[in-house]
């Protein structure tokens, strides 16, 4: 066949697709919407890596590296910058106090000029937030005048809350962590962070798992309207086109839907991109401009989708003989053979098998092997399902009329039924595997902080030079604070800390009122002036050795210029057992009541306030933060939580959840479309069944069975393959294989829910079709 003939036939098919009247347009539109949604999802996933890397670059470009061991000297090209991040209503606000030290001080990305003292430039989102009614507490905390905005290049998301505020006198606070002098923004010595191979694996699997059903879906979408098309093709044969030509014309028709779908997909993607710029998921937002798919991948989509449409159509017509007087499905379709269908998942497992037991420590997983293996396993689902449905349905026994109608229909066209649920089966299999993988590595990425959130929910340090008692009192008086545990902490060594060798032995010292000290140790009696030596700590073994009365110990100075302050272990030192303190630890060393601390040593201990909040006051944390900031703009009290989870893990999980919901919804929509089409085809039959008294319930039930049987089989297969894949992936990461049955069931439940929803949604049209009007022929 010459390429010219191909082109001619495809073109003819294209023309047919658009000249089929209202019905033709409807079919093309349905196909196009299906393909379009798939294309949009494809484009989005090709754009996602790009979006993440753009975010990453922006983040790096504006970073203020504060950890230089020796800050550069003051010059006309330096600035001092202080990290004043805060949190407002669970949203992080990136805050910086800046003080340029000369006209040539570098500007951060997205900022035109430095704000003067008392002024700030803000991100658009923060500006909106500050103007809103419920941000009064935030306005109090940021009492600066807004004089400008930070442009997109200085932000990592459309919803990011950020500000730069002018300040003065920051140089005194340079500490190598929170405050620093800079000559330039950006990481001074960028090191490519080595990606965690397990996180990479997760990413890879998520993308494959999400894209597979989309591919299956697109394949199904180009077959919308198959039965009507068959009749048209027969008419073509009647007027003299040969069999091969007819197939190519049919492919051309599918191509029309696919091409229109590409256009729609680009449109959907464009809209989705704008929408993506206006939403924030799990505290992460992006700018639409981030979501530019890489041109290569976009081109690949643009070529692959129409090509796939043509291929799928030709493949689908393989078992069909188009005769001039009608379309004949090969009378007895060859029984589906099992061996090559089994080959796929087995090959997939074989690809993954060498990586079993590799774990996190042994370098990267081979991306091609992982992708190939997962892909083959999932494609295996689509290959096995038709066989499974055919085999099982052929053996289904008798039952009620509804059951019989459904089973017979499935026996006659089990392929159609299997195709309909393929997408869902693949999505569920992939999702189950991922859920297992997540649940398995959950322990690795979720750390127990050990903090006792019952006793305290916030913690902050009292700045040096402030009275712990006074600040404690201020917080006790703050709205929403129930109790303040004030503990000053420092270290004691057996020699002067500034000396050449430093102390050989050292221990902790905690200063606080009797009430506060009782939070860290069991004290039968306690009066001001008492001193206790703690036992029970697991790692502070020196305390017992140092706790001999009369021994002179040296306080660790809090800054380099600090003087050496000594303390003699008093005769009245008593032993006490430590208990788990609010931070979840058992501390050791000495406990001193306030008057036992030498006055000179007051500067050698740093005050820590542990705050217990009143849950009845919703904004308690905000009040605390405001008081803290008024005490010192550099304060950022931390909020405790019982566990900490790695961010990377969180966003993957979110991605999976959103993706799975999108894919299932998409597949549900296509199921509905083909279901309705099937019902329309049977309109006459349905009416006549109703005429001779068939209960609507019977027919509705048979429609339900008709989807429920293949779906159940599909879900069972999906569970088997998903569990197998999940187990292999877990073994690859070196994690013990455990099955999270709740998530397996919930994913299967979601799949079943889609079927139920589709059946319910197709009931009203079914009932309408069952009206006797369908019998009218005139």
């Amino acid at each position: 066949m010459s390429p010219g003939g191909w082109a001619r036939d495809l073109r003819m098919g294209l023309r047919f697709a658009f000249s089929g009247g209202r019905e033709g347009w409807l079919r093309v539109t349905l196909t196009a919407v299906g393909v379009g949604l798939g294309v949009a999802l494809l484009l989005l996933s090709t754009a996602l890596p790009n979006a993440l890397s753009v975010r990453d670059h922006r983040e790096k470009a504006r970073s203020d590296y504060t950890y230089a061991p020796t800050p550069p000297p003051r010059g006309d090209d330096t600035l001092v910058i202080a990290d004043t991040n805060t949190t407002f209503h669970d949203k992080d606000v990136r805050g910086r106090l800046v003080e340029p030290e000369g006209p040539k001080a570098p500007l951060p990305p997205g900022v035109d000029r430095y704000p003067a003292r008392g002024e700030m430039v803000v991100s658009p989102a923060l500006e909106r937030l500050l103007r809103s009614d419920d941000a009064a507490l935030l306005r109090q905390r940021l009492p600066y005048k807004v004089v400008g905005t930070i442009h997109e290049s200085g932000l990592i998301g459309s919803h990011e809350l950020a500000y730069y505020a002018g300040a003065s006198g920051l140089a005194d606070r340079i500490d190598g962590s929170q405050v620093a002098r800079l000559k330039e923004y950006g990481s001074p010595n960028p090191v490519a962070e080595r990606a965690d191979p397990v996180l990479m694996l997760l990413n890879l699997v998520v993308i494959v798992v999400l894209l597979m059903p989309v591919a299956v879906f697109i394949a199904a979408a180009v077959r919308v309207g198959g039965e009507r098309r068959d009749r048209r093709l027969a008419a073509l044969r009647l007027v003299g086109s040969d069999s091969a030509m007819t197939r190519r014309i049919a492919a051309g028709e599918a191509l029309a839907g696919a091409l229109l779908g590409l256009v729609l997909g680009a449109g959907f993607f464009w809209v989705g991109r704008e929408v993506a710029g206006s939403v924030e998921v799990m505290g992460v937002s992006v700018f639409p401009s981030y979501l530019n798919p890489s041109p290569l991948l976009a081109a690949l989509v643009a070529v692959a989708v129409p090509a796939a449409a043509v291929l799928v159509t030709l493949l689908a017509l393989r078992g069909v003989v188009i005769e001039p007087l009608g379309v004949v499905r090969t009378a007895k379709p060859a029984r589906r053979r099992l061996w090559w269908r089994l080959l796929m998942p087995v090959a997939g497992l074989a690809l993954l098998a060498p990586m079993i037991g590799k774990g996190r420590g042994n370098g990267d997983f081979n991306q091609y092997l992982v992708t190939g293996g997962v892909l083959l396993l999932l494609v295996g689902v689509t290959a096995l399902l038709p066989w499974l449905v055919e085999t099982v349905v052929a053996r289904l026994g008798s039952g009620g009329v509804a059951w019989q109608l459904a089973v017979r229909r499935l026996q006659l066209s089990s392929g159609t039924a299997a195709r309909m649920v393929n997408g869902i089966a693949v999505a569920v299999a992939g999702a189950i595997a991922l859920q297992m993988l997540f649940a398995g590595v959950d322990a690795d990425y979720t750390k127990d902080t050990g903090k006792d959130v019952q006793r305290a929910q916030m913690q902050l340090s009292v700045p040096d030079g402030r009275s712990v008692t006074a600040e404690s009192a201020r917080f006790t008086a703050t709205k929403g604070v129930r109790r303040v545990i004030a503990l000053s902490e420092g270290s004691l060594g057996d020699a002067a800390w500034g000396a050449e060798s430093g102390p050989e032995k050292s221990t902790q010292v905690t200063v606080g009122t009797c009430a506060a000290l009782r939070e860290v140790a069991a004290l039968p009696t306690c009066r001001d002036g008492d001193v206790f030596a703690l036992s029970g700590s697991e790692y502070d073994q020196d305390a017992t050795a140092l706790a001999t009365p009369g021994r002179v110990l040296h306080f660790s100075p809090r800054s380099d210029e600090g003087t050496d302050v000594t303390w003699t272990v008093p005769a009245g030192v008593r032993r006490a057992d430590s208990v788990v303190d609010p931070t979840g630890m058992r501390r050791g060393g000495f406990l001193l009541t306030p008057s036992a601390l030498p006055a000179k040593a007051a500067a050698q201990v740093g005050g820590q306030l542990y705050l217990s909040l009143d849950p009845a006051v919703p904004d308690a944390a905000e009040y605390v933060r405001n008081v803290a900031v008024s005490m010192d703009p550099l304060q950022n009290p931390s909020v405790w939580s019982a566990t900490e989870r790695s961010r990377g893990y969180d966003s993957i999980r979110t991605g999976l959840l959103v993706g799975a919901v999108c894919v299932l919804a998409l597949i549900g929509a296509s199921l509905l479309v083909s279901q309705l089409e099937q019902l329309r085809e049977r309109r006459k039959l349905l009416s006549s069944l109703v005429a001779f008294g068939t209960r609507r319930r019977t027919l509705s039930l048979s429609v339900l069975w008709q989807t429920a049987i293949p779906i159940t089989l599909g879900l069972l297969l999906a569970m088997a393959v998903g569990l197998a894949l999940g187990a292999v992936l877990l073994r690859m990461t070196g994690t013990a294989v455990t099955v999270d049955w709740t998530s397996v069931l919930s994913m299967s439940g979601a799949g079943a829910g889609v079927v139920l929803a589709v059946t319910l949604l197709s009931l009203p049209p079914l009932l309408r079709l069952m009206r006797p009007d369908g019998l009218r022929t005139e």
Binding site: G400, V401, L405, R408, L685, G693, P772, L775
Partner: protein
């Protein structure tokens, strides 16, 4: 009005419109047990609508239909469906056999809808298929049999429940005259043997000739020719 004495199914002053199209405009009808009545008339005259109303498939806009002394309008949809299942049988022109069921399963379907066990229903179905000379088709699907055979299967299905009224809407419409007549013979023979009444909608005089009398519908009005003559 009171239905004519001894009539099994009777209708009085039926009116039915589909939107602006008037299908029935005061039609009358009555049939006795064992009687075959042809409803004739040009296409679009309302023949099929009259049949659909009589069978309780389509409710008329006004007028009364009594079956066995009961007024159809007072029955619920479920009751009318049950009536169609157990007391009526139907044969249509086409599109009535379920393509995925075998012929014997198709014939057994009405019995199964009534709750008869599958085995028993299929045995009864086979009996009727023998009478209609299509018992050799039992395992075939409707797509594999000829039009005349399919129509005989449909007749067997209509008769399998032992209906008291058989509704046939152009039952030979899709058949050649030889097959059409054979179907009509078998249909009327079978109906007579069970004393079932047959309401036969047709526009073919030779099919109508299998009836005992005819009713002509023109512009939605019926004319009972026996009474007119």
């Amino acid at each position: 009005m009171i239905a004519p004495a001894g009539s099994l199914l009777a209708a009085h002053d039926l009116r039915k419109a589909y939107g602006p199209t008037v299908a029935l405009d005061g039609a009358e009808f009555s049939i006795h047990p064992g009687e075959v009545v042809a409803i004739m008339g040009p296409s679009g005259s309302g023949k099929s609508t009259l049949l659909h109303c009589l069978a309780g498939i389509v409710p008329p806009d006004s007028g009364s239909i009594t079956y066995d002394g009961r007024e159809m309008a007072t029955m619920t949809d479920a009751q009318r469906s049950a009536l169609r299942r157990s007391e009526f049988g139907f044969v249509f022109q086409f599109g009535q056999l379920v393509p995925e069921l075998t012929c014997v399963e198709n014939v057994a379907l009405p019995l199964r809808l009534n709750g008869t066990s599958r085995k028993e229903a299929e045995r009864a179905a086979l009996g009727w298929m023998q009478r209609l000379e299509v018992d050799d088709l039992r395992g075939k699907r409707p797509g594999e049999v000829s039009g005349g055979q399919g129509q005989r299967v449909a007749v067997a299905r209509a008769l399998v429940t032992g209906p008291r009224v058989l509704f046939a809407d152009e039952p030979t419409g899709a058949l050649d005259s030889l097959n059409g007549e054979r179907v009509m013979e078998l249909l009327t023979d079978a109906a007579r043997s069970t004393n079932a009444a047959v309401v036969l909608v047709t526009h073919e005089a030779r099919v109508a000739a299998y009836s005992d009398r005819e009713i002509v519908v023109r512009d939605g009005r019926s004319r009972d020719m026996e009474r007119a003559v």
